[in-house]
């Protein structure tokens, strides 16, 4: 395969890929459903001014509880792994 032919094929494939990508993007924009996000963006400022805290503690409060438990688990694992054999009850 000569060099010019390879360039030609490469150009065609790139063009096809680009067209497909743009097509997908343009259609995706009409397909995506904003869901509760638009509603919450309208309601949120009526609850408290800081939208980030609103989402983290109001809309996704359950998520934040799990996030806090991750920290507890991390402390527990540190104590278990690094404190192995050095805790109060161990004889060694």
């Amino acid at each position: 395969m000569s060099n010019s032919l390879r360039d030609l094929v490469l150009a065609i494939i790139t063009a096809l890929f680009g067209v497909t990508l743009f097509d997908a993007l343009f259609h995706l924009r009409s397909i995506i459903n904003p869901g509760i996000s638009l509603v919450y963006n309208a309601l949120g400022p009526n609850i408290a001014p800081n939208m980030v805290t609103n989402i983290v503690f109001d809309w996704r409060g359950y998520d934040t509880l799990g996030e806090a438990l991750i920290l507890v688990t991390a402390v527990l694992v540190v104590l278990l792994i690094f404190g192995r054999g050095k805790l109060k009850g161990d004889e060694e």
Binding site: L65, A68, V78
Partner: protein, 164 residues
């Protein structure tokens, strides 16, 4: 740990720790208005305590967190968070519903008055959740630092015991 720290460090560490702790408390209490929140404020408080711990050492630490204090604060934070969630579950049918803000008007006014954070915003239980998470994060990160510093001491004691 660091018994040979410089005088300037020992002179400045405690004021800087206190300033960091005050800044963290400010961040937690203003979490629903200004940038920040419980996690960030708790990390700031913990940074102040850890600075004091590493400069003065565990034995002479002026900001001393005992293990019972750590476990009590950690348990209080987690249980109060779950309690606020259960209040929402009982009175609104949804776990962690904002009973103080009560956007949909389905909570009895007496319950709403209890959990409404008293300031011009309509934040409801968000500041209380901020505080509980702040307490948890403060104690958790500090406990990790205390644990690491103490494990090193244990190892040194063990080595000394082996030498003798």
């Amino acid at each position: 740990m660091s018994n040979d720290g410089s005088t300037v460090l020992k002179l400045l560490a405690l004021p800087i720790s206190i300033i960091l702790i005050c800044l963290g408390v400010n961040t937690i209490l203003g979490g629903h208005i200004t940038p920040g929140g419980g996690f960030q404020g708790g990390a700031m408080i913990s940074a102040g305590v850890i600075l004091s711990l590493f400069v003065y050492g565990f034995d002479k630490n002026p900001i001393d967190f005992s293990p019972s204090f750590v476990s009590a604060v950690e348990s209080f934070g987690a249980l109060f968070y779950v309690f606020l969630g259960l209040v929402g579950l009982v009175f609104a049918g949804s776990f962690l519903y904002n009973v103080g803000g009560d956007f949909f008007g389905i909570v009895p006014p007496m319950i709403k008055a209890i959990f409404h954070y008293p300031d011009p915003t309509n934040a409801g239980i968000i500041p209380y959740l901020n505080m509980t998470v702040g307490l948890k994060v403060m104690v958790g990160l500090t406990a990790v630092a205390i644990a690491f510093s103490q494990f090193k001491t244990f190892e040194e004691e063990q080595e000394e015991g082996d030498d003798e």
